[in-house]
Subunit: 215 residues, 2 copies
């Protein structure tokens, strides 16, 4: 039996596991007759190599049965367990602009365990507004809400100039991970997990290749 | 003289160029006294190695002058030229939900040459709404607007189930690049440039590491 708690998954593996998860959900395979699926079927749907799929499943402790394949609910549970979707992640969104609102209201992330405790903004005109199911809170409430809800993740959607100050404040308040959508790099202690979503890089990649192709 | 049109930049280089660009803008270095900057100064601000910075600048044809350093406006122009920010990229946003609206209204992308010609949605209740400076259009207008504005880039923010159909339609209408925010993979001909922003992967990475750390 693989002990999922001791294995470490790299980004490519995480990405593939999430791809299987999305394909299974998207094609409603949980409800498929017999409730089983072969790696060949997933390979056909996802374009990922058959052998790779069996390896990935083995890593997260899912065993196929000969002539039956994999039991879909087992696969889904194992992926959710490996990626931490079976645990609720209490979170706050900092910046109640359009992007912050989009993230707070997106139901897809709820399936991944994301639980938004509150949205915050510095702009007095935004405080009290309702976005999704949340009332926008003033920053003065940050510490108390983080404590009350045992918030571990902060989602940062503030302008670049405000990002470092609020990051320092979040870490002081006990945040363990930051999902950074602000277009800037952050100075963060080693023990804090950070993921930078640099959308500007994605756009730069596209405009760069478009320009190359038009020459 | 480096001919920027013949060089090819990988993703890491694009990412670093964009980092320099953001640091220069963020610290208003264009207006610095004398208008020059040394690679050591950029290294200190960005945390990127001095030697790497000089290499990157050389690749895009920017030469330093001894005891003076780099002229800031030259650096900015070279980066914008290399990444295609000096060319307007006419674009459409498909899906006028919160995320589509956030992208269409975000001024930061305008500096990168992004020019949103129109937002589209399939939902009759959204058509005619004003988001940012744009009136939401029905999909029937897609072909005509793509032709009229010589649109090359489509930004996809529709649900996973709708993504492939609309992608096929966009490619038929003459789109050359797709910025995909829909949580699914797309079947796309080789000649079309695609960039998948898999936000769900970012979140999975965070929830995975949070879970690992709490054990």
């Amino acid at each position: 039996m693989v002990n999922i708690n001791t294995i470490s998954l790299n980004r490519s593996t995480l990405e593939r596991l999430l791809t299987y998860y999305h394909f299974i959900n998207h094609h409603h395979l949980q409800h498929s007759v017999g409730g089983t699926i072969s790696s060949a079927q997933i390979a056909e749907l996802s374009g990922i190599d058959d052998t790779q799929i069996r390896k990935d499943f083995a890593v997260i402790g899912v065993k196929g049965r000969s002539r039956v394949g994999f039991i879909v609910t087992e696969v889904v549970h194992a992926i959710c367990h490996a990626l931490g979707f079976d645990v609720t992640t209490p979170s706050v969104v900092i910046g109640a602009g359009r992007l912050g609102g989009a993230i707070a209201a997106y139901k897809g992330f709820v399936k991944q365990g994301l639980n938004i405790a509150a949205l915050f903004d510095i702009n007095p005109e935004k405080i009290g507004l309702i976005i999704g199911d949340h009332v926008v809170q003033p920053l003065e409430q940050l510490d108390i809400i983080i404590k009350q809800h045992a918030v571990r993740l902060a989602i940062l959607t503030v302008p670049a100039g405000a990002a470092q100050d609020i990051t320092d404040r979040l870490i002081k308040a006990g945040i363990k991970a930051i999902w950074n959508f602000s277009p800037t790099s952050l100075n963060i202690p080693r023990e804090i997990i950070v993921r930078n979503e640099r959308l500007a890089v994605g756009l730069a990649e596209l405009t760069y290749h478009l320009k190359q192709n038009s020459q």
